[in-house]
Structures are given as structure tokens and as C-alpha cells.
Amino acid sequence: MATRTLMHIDLDAFFVSVEQVLNPELKGKPVVVGGRPDRRGVVAAASYEARAYGLHSAMPLATAVRLCPQAIFIEGSFPRYREASGKFMAILADFSPFLEPLGLDEAFLDVTGFESLHGSIHRMALAIKQRVSEEQGLCASIGIAGCKVVAKVASDFSKPDGLIEVPAGEERAFLAPLAIDKLPGIGKKTEQRLRGIGVKTIGELSLVPLKALKSHFGASGEVLHHHSNGIDSRKVSPPGEAKSISRETTFDKDLSGRPMLEATLRYLSERVGSDLRNRGKQAKCVTLKLRYADFTTITRSYTLPQTTDADQAIFDTGVQLMRKALAAERQPVRLIGIGVSSLAEPSRQLVLLEPSGKRQEQLNRAIDRIRDRYGFSAIQTGRTLRLRDIFPPNDGGAFQVRETQ
């Protein structure tokens, strides 16, 4: 493959920084976005000043107060962050059309061949940082490398307000000394398992034979092997029309209790449904994904008789698929995900005999409007109530959700 140059651009302490721009008094102080400290909830974002006290996102607010009583706690406003994100992406799009946003505050940019426009890629990165700073008052950290995984690790490593360029051929040397949890895709569980076999740094991981990793982690072992060696052939793919929408989450602890699994499935279904409606699409196929405690992963799909964008229909189908799967395989569940595909323009067969579907639709639209204004967790269905403690106040938080296109 020809040499590529990719950039990973990541805004520093995004939610907090947006708040600090609106209220300069917050600058230089420990600030936490996530809600009032006397309520239950988790830290969505913490300023670097607060991080100095050991605060980090996904930490319970109560713990945050104990560690840093003088911190300023703000509830935060999702629409504000979305607006700031839109401006940020627009600036990036001015630099290269090959833009792949990841969530609100980070993006990959393929800048292969853009040297001549800016003198060098390094200068181009500085120009991006400058525009983001001048136009938005925000700080961006940038990693430059020949592949996605190294660019992302570099931008992370450079924070705050950093810029690191990893020249071609030096990827392995750059990654080697870093702790394994710095490698994207390695969560708490994987980290523990790797430490269990004596692997602490990315360099050590890169030396583990591919066969051994595969026997430990299955298909993802191969990805770990390549990434730790600085090899990653994924392209920067502009979002375009989504062909499918899915959300998944890994549990802190493997779960076998049906109520909790169903609550999580309901939550993820609502996320998917809300995404579908936001995009003005409907889906015909629902896919459930389960990863069991022993890392075997299954997907089960069902094609609906007609397209839907209703949370209820997605959940009902998912729950049926899950019950069937769990009846066959009695193992705790490590990861659960639900997705929809076969997307089509919204349409609905109107019903001659009973108009119950219409009320469901109105309900979903009303919930969407409330969530648009006040954030996703502003309104919950009863079934997801048991998830309160891990329900993210906004998009961040302990509840890792991944969207695939």
C-alpha cells in the first residue's frame, strides 16, 4: 500500500472547554461536567485542573466531590456541544474532504499529498490548531502518522494542546514504551487479561506471537497484534449514507441476569431508534450481537415484515432473538449490541383495523424532542431504570457505545 498520511484531531476536555468559552471565569479551575454533585451520576468530562486531583470521566460524582471538593460542577448542555462539534468539523472539512468524524470531538483526516498546500503536514496541523483556537477558543491535540491507530495514540499522548508526528518506520518504536491501555480497543477486561500473561506495554504485546493472541482473544487477537506493531490498514471513510446503525456495550462484569440484559437491550434499542429517526430512515432488519464470557461472539438477525423506526419494534425483535440465543447458550454475557440494517426511506403501511401504531409513533417523536433539548437521559423508559447508575448523562461516560457505519 502506498504511504499515507493521516491525522487524528482531538479536542481537549471538550465539554468543559466549551463551558469555559461561554463562561471565562471557569478557566484555570477544576470544572466537572456531569450534573449536580448531590445527585447520583457520573463525570462526563473533567478539566485538566480537575484531572490533577485524579478525576476522570465515568467516575461517580460522589467520588469526584470527595477527591476535589472545590471543583465547580455543571450540568452541561448537549445541544451546545453539538453546535460546537459542528463548527469544529466544518473547520476540518476546509482542510481535507477526507474527513471521518468520531463522536463529537475527534476526527480522522486523510491528508496524503497535502504537503504542498501548507508547506508541510506539520504546518498544516498547526494551521488547524490555530483556526480551532481562534474561531472556537478550543484546544485541539493532533497526532500525525501513516495509519489510524498510531495517529490516535499520538494525539492522545500529545495532550493537552499537543502535536506529535510519528514518521514512517518509527511506529513500533513510538508505541513500544507505552502502557497497553493506551492502545485503542484495549478496555479494562482485555488489559487485565494481558497483564495476567505478563504483558504491560504495547512493545511487549507486539512481541507476543500472533498464534498465542488468537488463542486468547479469537479474531480480535489478530487486530491487537497488528495494531501493537503499528499496522492498521483501515481507511479514513467519510460517513456518507449509513448502511446500518448499531450500538453495543461491554459490561463491567459478565452478566447473566435477564432483567439487566433486557434493560440494557432496551437502552441500546432506544439509542438506535433515536438515531434512525434523526436520520429520517427506517430499517427492515434487526441484528442482535452477543459476546459470551468465553469471548465467543454471535450475531442473530431477523427481517421484519415491514420497515420500522420504532424503539419498541427494535427492542421486541432484539429481545426475542436474545431469548432464543440464551436458551441455546447458558453463559454469562460480556457484550451486548443491537443494530438495524436494510435502511429505507420512512414509510409505513397504514392500518385498517387498529390504529395503535400511530400512538407509538407519536410517543417516540415526543421522546426524541425531549431528548434533543435536555439530553438522552432526561427521559427514560421504566425498563431502563435499573441502568440509572451507568446511564451516561450525555454521550460519554462509562456506558461505552460504539456506532458503526
Partner: protein, 378 residues
């Protein structure tokens, strides 16, 4: 038991009762077919407990008797035999049926006929008689609209209202409604409404032979079973219990646009559009435009589009009365109804894009088909 019959008759008879043989069952004997001598005939019976079919064929009976044997096995064997005389015999105290034909001999292990589920006798109750031609057309024009999923059992059946010398058949699956009226050859003594399983009527339609003119129908007094009596065949079926929706109020009484169009052209344009509608829930869009004066006729365009495949527009001449109309349907529903009509033209009546459309054949007033449109963004 000892008898002989022709291979053709036995083969045809097994075909007739075969459709009532249970497919998946918890009662294994319903996989069998009952063979019993009945005076100078051989009676073949199969049942899946919802429906039972009995069929009689001519036979030369030497010894009375009865036995049940696996239906599929016997049917496959008999259908492979040459066209010749078939001898069936069951030695006394044996459960093994011996079948011989030409130089073939088979022994088939059977189960005692005493263990076969009793076939309900429906002799008393409401009696009537219908001309086969009328019933066949009626069944054909409504039965496709029954619900295939079981979530509302009453909708898996066809509502049959016997009143005076009129039979009204109605089927609905939640998205469409088909209503057909036909005359009874013998009036009923009292108004009777029953729900006949769609599968039963589909079988009746298959069983009514070309050589038959009338069919006798009996509903038992507590309206739990119905008997269809044909020349050599009887079909007894359970009736669906429950209340069929009050459908007459679902048929729109007025419309803002009336389109008269040729059935074959309408069908062709809908089929063509449906090819492009496969990945989009089968949506076909209809736009009816009135003619601009006496000299120009109106037209109707039928289109479909797929984000991935492309799109298609078909145009046909039509007499359009009233306002221009835009309405979208699941193409399958339109194809289903147009395919069963015998008349040359239909009238399509619409009110607005989210109100039911009504299709009626031109020239007769005994059939009404109501289809709910699809909500789409135009």
C-alpha cells in the same frame, strides 16, 4: 379387509385427502390415512384435527375392514405404480396392509383404525347449497386477504354471513379488506355468521371439481363445525371462534377521486413498479391526473424507486373523475386483488393519501376491496 380398485382412482383419491394430512403434529396417527370399506366403495380419510377430508372411490370389496397407514408412504408408492388394478388386503388380526399391483408387492405397517381421531358428523344445523362457479369465484376473490400470522385468530378466517339467499364472504388482514357477495341456491332458514379458516376455503376451492355444479354446506347447530359436501368428497372443518370485526364501517362511503382503468394495464404497471420496490417495503406510488378537457383523457402514473437500484415510472390511460390524487400502496396488495378479478376494468376510489383506497370491478356490484395506503414522503 380385501378389495381391489384402479391405480388411477386410488392415486387421485390419495391426492384429494393428502392435503388434510397433518404436517407437524403431536399426534403421530394424523400422519396416516384411514382406509375403510364403505359398502361397495373404498373410503379414504385424512385429518389434521382442524380439517378432515373424506373421499370415496369405486372398489370391488370382498371383505370389509379398515386400517390406517402412513399417508406419505402409501401416496408415493401408489403414484409410482403402473396404471393397473391394485389389490389391497389386510389379513385377519394383522396390522400390515398388503398392496399388490401388476408385479409389485408392498407390505405397509399400519395402526389400528380404532385409534384414528373420530371425524365429526355434521348432519343437522343450517343447510344450504351454492353453485360451484359462484363459490369458487367468491373464495378466489377474498381468501388471499386473510391474515397469515396468528396474532388475531379471527383474521386467519373468512367471515361468512348466510342471510336469506345471499352469502357474504369477507376477509381482512389488518391492512386490506375483501368483501364478496354471492347467491345461495337454497336460502338459509336463519341468518348465520361463521368464520371459516382461510386454509379450509382454499382446500374447498381446490376440491371442487369441474364436473360438479353445486356444493352442499352444513353448519352444525352450535356453529363449531362446517361440512362441505361434494359428489365423492366431504370436507369437515372446525370454525374459528370469536367475533369478526364490524367491517362495513371500514368501507369508505365517499371519495374525492375516481379512476377507471383497464385491469390488465394496471396490473402490468404495478408489477413493473414492484420490481423496483422490493427493497423499500414494496412501495408503489400512484398519481392520477384528470384529463384537461373533453378531448384528452386522464392518466395514472405508477412509479417506484429504490435508493440502490434505480426507479421506474409507468403511465396508463384512465378516466379520472374529481381531483388529482397521489397515493402510495404496497404493490403486492394491488397485484393480489387485480390478479383475481375477471372483469376488464376497475374503478379505484381515493380520498387522500392516508385514507383507504377502494377497488371495485366495473360492471358488477358484488365485490369491494379496501386497501390501506402506505405513508410515504412524496
Amino acid at each position: 379387509m380385501k378389495l381391489s380398485c384402479t391405480q388411477e382412482n386410488l392415486n387421485r383419491g390419495l391426492g384429494v385427502v393428502g392435503r388434510a394430512v397433518a404436517a407437524r403434529t403431536t399426534l403421530p396417527i394424523t400422519n396416516n390415512v384411514l382406509l375403510a370399506t364403505d359398502e361397495s366403495r373404498l373410503k379414504l380419510v385424512a385429518t389434521n384435527l382442524e380439517m378432515a377430508i373424506s373421499h370415496w372411490i369405486g372398489a370391488k370389496v370382498e371383505e370389509e375392514g379398515d386400517i390406517t397407514v402412513p399417508a406419505r408412504l402409501l401416496t408415493e408408492f401408489v403414484s409410482s405404480l403402473p396404471s393397473d388394478k391394485v389389490d389391497l388386503s389386510l389379513p385377519a388380526n394383522s396390522k400390515t396392509l398388503e398392496v399388490t399391483c401388476a408385479r409389485f408387492e408392498a407390505r405397509i405397517s399400519g395402526v389400528d383404525a380404532k385409534d384414528f381421531p373420530p371425524i365429526p358428523k355434521v348432519s343437522e344445523g343450517i343447510n344450504t347449497r351454492v353453485e360451484v362457479n359462484h363459490l369458487r369465484q367468491g373464495i378466489t376473490q377474498v381468501v388471499f386477504a386473510v391474515a397469515t400470522e396468528e396474532s388475531r385468530p379471527v383474521l386467519t378466517g373468512v367471515d361468512a354471513m348466510f342471510e336469506g339467499d345471499l352469502l357474504t364472504l369477507a376477509a381482512a388482514d389488518g391492512f386490506r379488506l375483501a368483501v364478496y357477495k354471492l347467491p345461495l341456491a337454497t336460502p338459509v332458514s336463519e341468518k348465520t355468521e361463521v368464520i371459516i379458516p382461510g386454509r379450509t376455503l382454499a382446500e374447498v376451492n381446490r376440491l371442487m371439481g369441474d364436473d360438479e355444479e353445486v356444493i352442499d354446506i352444513t353448519v352444525n347447530p352450535n356453529k363449531s363445525q362446517i361440512l362441505f359436501h361434494m359428489k365423492n368428497t366431504e370436507l369437515v372443518s372446525q370454525l374459528v371462534q370469536g367475533t369478526f370485526p364490524q367491517y362495513s364501517q371500514l368501507i369508505p362511503q365517499s371519495s374525492s377521486t375516481k379512476v377507471v382503468v383497464d385491469v390488465a394495464e394496471f396490473l402490468r404497471a404495478t408489477r413493473t413498479a414492484s420490481i423496483f420496490a422490493r427493497d423499500g417495503s414494496g412501495i408503489v406510488r400512484l398519481v392520477a391526473t384528470p384529463g384537461s378537457g373533453e378531448l384528452t383523457t386522464g392518466k395514472i402514473t405508477i412509479s417506484a424507486r429504490s435508493e440502490e437500484l434505480g426507479d421506474d415510472v409507468g403511465e396508463i390511460d384512465a378516466t379520472v373523475e374529481g381531483e388529482e390524487a397521489k397515493i402510495a400502496f404496497n404493490g403486492k396488495y394491488i397485484i393480489d386483488v387485480l390478479s383475481v378479478l375477471r372483469e376488464k376494468q376497475v374503478v379505484l376510489e381515493t380520498t387522500n393519501p392516508s385514507s383507504p383506497g377502494v377497488i371495485r370491478p366495473v360492471g358488477v356490484d358484488n365485490y369491494t376491496h379496501v386497501v390501506m395506503p402506505m405513508f410515504v414522503q412524496w
